[in-house]
Symmetry: C2
Subunit: 325 residues, 2 copies
DNA sequence: TTGTATGCGTTATCAG
DNA sequence: CTGATAACGCATACAA
C-alpha cells in the first residue's frame, strides 16, 4: 500500500507538504505542488480515508437501517437515499434488520463502534429507549421514537381519508379495510384512523382485516383472503394500507373471477415502480418517496453539521386513480 | 466520546491492560479483568473500529456495487449478500452505480480509499481494465472481467435451452426471443446463444427482439410491444431473458385480450419473489439466488484471507412451470 | 514556503 | 501479570 510517506520521499519533501497539497492548505510553491501531484499520479496514491476519519473524527458514513432491502418500497428508499447521500459526499452502510430486534440492536452498536456520522432508520422494531443513549444523529421514517428525534413522514391521515372517500364516491356500500399490525406505534396507523373516521361519518358498513404478514408470504395472504371471501361476499370496496395487500387481494379476487373494479373497487398505498409491469394498475395513494429520501439525507447531514432542523416533516400525499376503481 | 484511555484511568490501569482484556490476550488477573469490564460497562465504552481498522489494516467492510438496488432481482441479491456478510462479521458499503460508468469508477476509487477489504460486483458497465490496477479482492456476478478474477454465475446456456425446448414441447411453432443489449459481454448472453441453438436444431421459426430498456421504463416497453404485435401476429411462444421482459410482454398481451397461455406461451427468467402477488404466475428459469450470494460472500472472504478459491463457479438452473405455458 | 513534533484511538513489542 | 513506547496513516500547531 502506498502512503503519504512514500509520496513525500519520492517527491523529496516531507509528509506535511504532501498533506498540504492534498488539502489545499497554506502556501506552497507551484513547483513543489506540481512535483507532488506528479508523484501522486505516478504512485497512484490515494489518501487513506480511515486514517483521515480517525483524525477528523468524521467518517462521512451514514448507517441506513432497513427491515429488508428486498422489499420494493424500501429498495426504492435505499436507492434514493444512496443517491442523495452520494451527491453530498456520504457513503451508506447498509443494515438489514430483517425485522429482528436483536439484529437491529446489534447493528446499532456496530454503527456506533464504526463511528458512522449518523443513522437513517427506514423503519424499526426496537423500543424507543435503545436509541436514546446513542448520542448519534438520527432521523427516522414514518416513526416517532423520541422527543428530540426528527422524522420524515407523509400525511397518513389524509391518505386514509382520500382513499376511503374515493371508494365512497365510487358508490361502495360496504368497505373492507386491510391493514397490518396496528400494535406497533407507526405513523402509518393513521391511515386506519382516517378510514374509521370517514366510514363512520358517512355511516358506511365496514369490516377490518388485520394482515400482519411478510410481503413475500403468498400462502399467508392466500389463506387470509380465502377466509375473507367466505365470510364477506357483500363487500364492494377495499382500502389496503399497502400496495402489496391490495395486490394480493386483487390476485385472490381474480382467481375467483371477481370483476375488479366492476364488482369490487380497490385502493392501495405506495406504488412500487416495478408494478408498472403488471395488470391491473392499482388506484393508490402516493407519497413523494424521492423527496422524502432527499429530506432524510438532508436532515441527517444538517444534524451532523450542528445546523438547526425541523423535527416534524410531513409531506402531502395524493390519490392516483387507475384501473381498480 | 469515551476512549480506551478513559477506561484505563478510571480503572486505574494502563491502556495496554484495557486492550488486553478487550482482546483476550495475555495473562490478566481476574481481579483487574473484572474491574476493567465493570468500568467499560459503566462508561458504555465501545472500541473505535476505525482506529482498530487503521492499525490492523483491515476494515471488515465489503463494497457492494450494483447498478440499482431498487431492481427487484438486485434488491434480493443485496439482501442475501448483506445477510451472509453480516453472519461472517463483515459490513456492506452500498454502491449504486446507476449504470453510470463515471459513478462506477468513482465508487471504485472511493472503495479503495476507504480501505474496504474486498468488492462484490453485482454487475457493471465498466471496462475490464479499470479493475486490474485495483489490487483488491473482487468477485463478480455473471460477468468475466479478468483472467484471475473469480465469478459466480449460473448455467445460462442450459437456462436458455430449457426455456426454448419447453416452448417447443408445448407445441409452439414460431417463437419470439426478447433479450437485452447483447453488446455487453455478459454471461447472460448465453441464454440467447442457447435459444438460437435449439431453435435451429428443431427448425423452428423465430424472431429476435432487442429491448435495451430500464426495468421501470413502462413507456419503452409499451412502444416496443405495440410494434411487436403489429409485426408478428403469428408468434405463439415467447422466451424472455428476464422476468421483467416477460411480465411487460404479458401485460401488453392481456391489454390486447390475447389469451396466455392459450394463444401465446411465455417463459421468463429469474422470478422476483414479490411477483407472487401478481397474476399470472410466469413460467420461468430459476437460478439459486441465495446460494449464489452466499458463495459470492464466501469467495470474497476467502480471498481476503488469502485462501485458495475456484475461479469459475457455475450453479445449475431449473425451469419452473407455472401459468404461462 | 517548508519542516518538526504531536495526536487521533488502537494494538503489539519488549521490558520489568 | 502489567506498563512504557512505538506504530498504523494522516493533519494540524508551531517553528524556522
Amino acid at each position: 500500500m502506498t502512503t503519504i510517506k512514500d509520496v513525500a520521499e519520492r517527491a523529496g519533501v516531507t509528509v506535511t507538504t504532501v498533506s498540504r497539497v492534498l488539502n489545499n492548505r497554506g502556501k506552497i510553491s507551484s513547483k513543489t505542488r506540481e512535483k507532488v501531484n506528479q508523484v501522486m499520479k505516478e504512485l497512484d496514491y490515494h489518501p487513506n480515508e480511515m486514517a483521515r476519519s480517525l483524525f477528523r473524527k468524521k467518517s462521512n458514513i451514514i448507517g441506513l437501517i432497513l427491515p429488508m432491502v428486498s422489499h420494493p418500497f424500501l429498495g426504492e428508499m435505499a436507492y434514493f437515499i444512496e443517491y442523495y447521500a452520494y451527491m453530498r459526499g456520504y457513503k451508506i452502510l447498509l443494515c438489514n434488520s430483517q425485522m429482528d430486534r436483536d439484529k437491529e440492536n446489534e447493528y446499532l452498536v456496530l454503527l456506533k463502534k464504526n463511528k458512522v456520522d449518523g443513522i437513517i432508520m427506514g423503519s424499526h422494531t426496537t423500543e424507543v429507549d435503545e436509541y436514546i443513549g446513542l448520542e448519534l444523529p438520527i432521523v427516522t421514517f414514518d416513526r416517532v421514537i423520541g422527543e428530540n428525534i426528527p422524522f420524515v413522514t407523509s400525511d397518513n391521515f389524509e391518505g386514509g381519508r382520500l382513499a376511503t372517500e374515493h371508494l365512497i364516491e365510487c358508490g361502495c356500500k360496504k368497505i373492507a379495510h386491510i391493514t397490518g399490525n396496528l400494535s406497533r406505534d407507526l405513523l402509518a396507523n393513521k391511515r386506519t384512523e382516517a378510514f374509521f373516521d370517514v366510514v363512520r361519518k358517512h355511516s358506511i358498513e365496514h369490516v377490518l382485516i388485520q394482515a400482519d404478514l411478510n410481503i413475500f408470504d403468498l400462502d399467508g395472504y392466500t389463506k387470509l383472503f380465502n377466509d375473507f371471501f367466505a365470510d364477506h361476499s357483500d363487500v364492494d370496496g377495499v382500502f389496503a394500507t399497502s400496495y402489496a395487500k391490495a395486490a394480493y387481494f386483487i390476485k385472490a379476487g381474480l382467481e375467483r373471477k371477481i370483476k375488479i373494479p366492476e364488482r369490487i373497487k380497490v385502493v392501495g398505498y405506495d406504488d412500487y415502480r416495478i408494478s408498472s409491469m403488471f395488470l391491473p394498475h392499482i388506484t393508490s395513494i402516493r407519497q413523494p418517496v424521492e423527496q422524502m429520501c432527499e429530506l432524510l439525507v438532508d436532515l441527517i447531514i444538517s444534524q451532523i453539521n450542528k445546523e438547526p432542523i425541523q423535527r416534524e416533516n410531513c409531506f402531502p400525499v395524493n390519490l392516483v386513480k387507475r384501473q381498480t376503481t
